[in-house]
Assembly symmetry: C2
Homo-oligomer: 151 residues x 2
Amino acid sequence: MNDLKEKLEAFYNCCRKQHLKITPQRVEVYKALIASSDHPSAEAVYARVKQVLPNVSLDTVNRTLNTLSRIGAAFIVEGSGDVKRFDGNLENHQHFKCIKCKKFFDFYHDGFENIRVPQKLGHKFEVLKTTVYVEGLCRPCFEKENKVKLD
Amino acid sequence: MNDLKEKLEAFYNCCRKQHLKITPQRVEVYKALIASSDHPSAEAVYARVKQVLPNVSLDTVNRTLNTLSRIGAAFIVEGSGDVKRFDGNLENHQHFKCIKCKKFFDFYHDGFENIRVPQKLGHKFEVLKTTVYVEGLCRPCFEKENKVKLD
DNA sequence: CTCTTATATAGTAATCACTACTATTTAGCT
DNA sequence: AGCTAAATAGTAGTGATTACTATATAAGAG
């Protein structure tokens, strides 16, 4: 729980640094995001925030999520063109996505922590973030797939 | 040019294997996709196919692109929730995305060719594709950004 | 080569996520 | 407490993708 306080304090500082107002809506969106470990969509965050602030609008949630990702308090998850998904986990981690059920799973692997991009790329681009993105089938989907093939 | 013939032949076989009809629309969508190295959107593929088949509908292009990605003849590029983008390049390569102008750049790096996922992950999931996804600013956008800051 | 049939297509209309707009409210400063 | 720029609620709007339906056609059988 102390963790939450620390994160909130860091978030406040981040806002102040960027001259962004600390509004209840922003705080609740941020809290909802870091409380959801499942890479929620804007809609999902909206539903959660609504429990605390019943009058909040979806637009505000969307705008706020974009703001969070702009100031570096959240990430937009690399996906494949479906609904936008957000991630409040700032620690280095990788994503696995099931192409069937579209669920995301986090994974950590020391070898992927500090991937170095080739020098050539570093010269041509300002690199901000590097992730290993894995696609495939989760176990339930894989089993379904195989059953179908056996029929 | 022989390359194109080979790819088309492989594509035909892929369709036959999946009991998919080889229609002119499908062939043209596929050709348009592998002819565009810039990770085109459905809209862009549509424009290109229309030059050959003026009556083709956007829906058909969309459906076909999804079909292609389903049978493994194309990929949906990992992005960040904007317009879907497709990639007909099946060779192992990585993507850099500029978060400002949203352009994608391919890059190849031997070290990233055969990334091995941790065993734990291999047990829990059927891994189909692994890419290193790099985000940042391309040179033009980086320079613009810095100019703004200096004003 | 013709027939048959399941599949694919064109041409909409509908849906869904996201963004834009405007009047109102409010955080943060003095 | 009062001021002001920024943020919000409550729409309406936009743009991409999908769904629907009648028509057309690819591919296998005879």
